[in-house]
């Protein structure tokens, strides 16, 4: 059933059908009713692809993440989808697995689909704009990076102050009288660099030399954290700040399995304020980097870029510490 079939059956032209479909005012009530009746009778469904061809847009945006299974990204994706859904956009999810090649492929495909905008989630996409092919594909698609900097001419950012986030954690520990603090680094994104920088800055403020020797490298995740715990326990610090909640939970488990107590012997702080932090025992003190807020800002920013509101600018969000049992 297309607009022609409806027009024929209703005894009007396709323009008139189109008019009633789009609720235009210039249609006689009688005509409108007549057409509507045929529309209803066949439960006509307009073809959004054809509409999109004319409108040069299918009202869709894409969310690029490394992996939607990571709670942080799932939460971001959820907020973005819900918000854009209200604006009558649909959202495509793209999992790159962290592969540049995949990101590049998505960029090309999304450009072909004429998506109205793209949200890059995470600083891992920071180098994406440097890729020539990607830059060419996306040159006229609005891009917003949630907690990253797309490095694209038409790219904007919603940034979270990760340096400050870790500083907050260290400050808190220091105020609680912790003297010997180590930092666990797992991922190696730009955001991770900033966090590490935050650790250095905070340590320097407290007059601690050689903070570099206080950084322990771990694999991301529960197992990675547990593994790193061995090194940590050997160092006997009285506090550890981790770059990610999940790794922090692993670290806690490792410490506890080694016979030490959290927070009595060693305090542990994570990052993200994910659900993990309340599921584990003891509950994890963590830095809330405001996922929901940054996702929402990303949507607003992207929307104004799409609608050409001209009222946009990149923005920055301040994280907050959430104190629970582990510190």
């Amino acid at each position: 059933m297309n607009i022609y079939d409806i027009a024929k059956e209703a005894g009007v032209s396709i323009s008139t059908v189109s008019r009633v479909l789009n609720n235009k005012s210039n249609v006689m009530p009688a005509t409108r009713e007549k057409v509507q009746a045929v529309l209803d009778k066949h439960s006509y469904t307009p073809n959004a692809i054809a509409r999109g061809l004319v409108a040069r847009s299918m009202k869709t945006v894409a969310v690029l993440t490394v992996d939607v299974r990571v709670p942080h990204y799932a939460r971001t994706t959820y907020i973005i989808e819900r918000a854009f859904s209200k604006l009558n956009y649909h959202v495509l999810v793209c999992n790159t697995g962290g592969e540049l090649e995949e990101a590049r492929r998505y960029a090309r495909l999304l450009a072909e689909r004429q998506v109205d905008g793209i949200v890059l989630v995470g600083s891992i996409f920071n180098k994406l704009g440097q890729d020539e092919e990607v830059a060419a594909c996306l040159h006229n698609i609005p891009v917003v990076s949630a907690n990253g900097q797309p490095g694209l001419p038409n790219g904007y950012s919603v940034l979270v102050d990760d340096v400050q986030g870790i500083e907050l954690a260290v400050e808190h520990l220091a105020q609680k009288g912790r003297q010997n603090i180590v930092y666990v680094k797992d991922l190696d994104t730009d955001s991770a660099q900033l966090k590490q920088q935050g650790f250095y800055t905070a340590m320097q403020k407290r007059g601690v030399k050689n903070a570099k020797n206080r950084v322990i490298k771990a694999e991301y995740g529960l197992a990675g954290g547990e593994e790193a715990a061995a090194q940590i326990v050997a160092l006997r610090p009285d506090a550890v700040v981790c770059a990610e909640d999940l790794t922090a939970v692993g670290v806690m488990k490792g410490i506890i399995n080694a016979g030490l107590k959290v927070p009595e012997d060693i305090a542990v702080i994570g990052y993200n304020n994910s659900e993990y932090s309340v599921i584990c025992t003891p509950e994890l003190t963590t830095v809330d980097n405001k996922v929901e807020m940054s996702a929402l800002f990303s949507v607003q920013l992207l929307e104004s870029l799409i609608e050409k509101d001209e009222s946009f600018s990149s923005m920055s969000i301040q994280p907050e510490l959430v104190v629970r049992q582990s510190s």
Copy 2:
């Protein structure tokens, strides 16, 4: 830049451009190169919407879930996206929040977009097919329900035997010598009904009367589980089976906070084999309902429905018990 611009600049017809774009064989190498050069020069991007209008498909499928933030759904969505991406499809995520009205809206919108297929994730969508409007919208779109039954003429299912899943849990507890087992019910989907049925069946097999009195109603989630723990502790069972991992973790926390030990005093079993089960302490024994497998089967099923392989049928998956520390 469209195909006309390219054709003009290359001095050929649009058909020839189309041919090189689609790698058709009947183009002279020299012509092909000439056209390709122009294509490259402008880094031409074909318009997928226009292609879609002709092909009557934009190679996209949709995933309907209640909420992608729920790990079980996130995992399903991830698998589906990755698998369909390999098949050159894109995937739209739709979060209904469990609202029928939202599901209905998505159904209409997805039909307009001419999506090639839809995956319904979870039994919560079981009644969707009964809705007249939805049925009308989806009547010629292949639908696969992951762990549910769409109740649509063109709908197929990948089912997980949830009755068996809970039976497995109860059997395990019985074999460990647990005599006094209770069941915690949270959600109220069809799948939840099956699980409860599994509890009844298992109890009956063990000769326990009045299993209905052994069912405790809880709110879904950590807080819900903790709350329910008060009732549980009052009953003093020696084991509790929960319908969901997250609720189970809450129950464990509540039990432990009440001064009892898991599993010594009360064993706890969850459902889903989610990451939660390894993050909590003690680690949770849980029923693995094979998310990845059911997602993958859903993709295969949907793909064959789309490609009209005619080689499809609904399928069923057997869950497995994963024994950890809590039992």
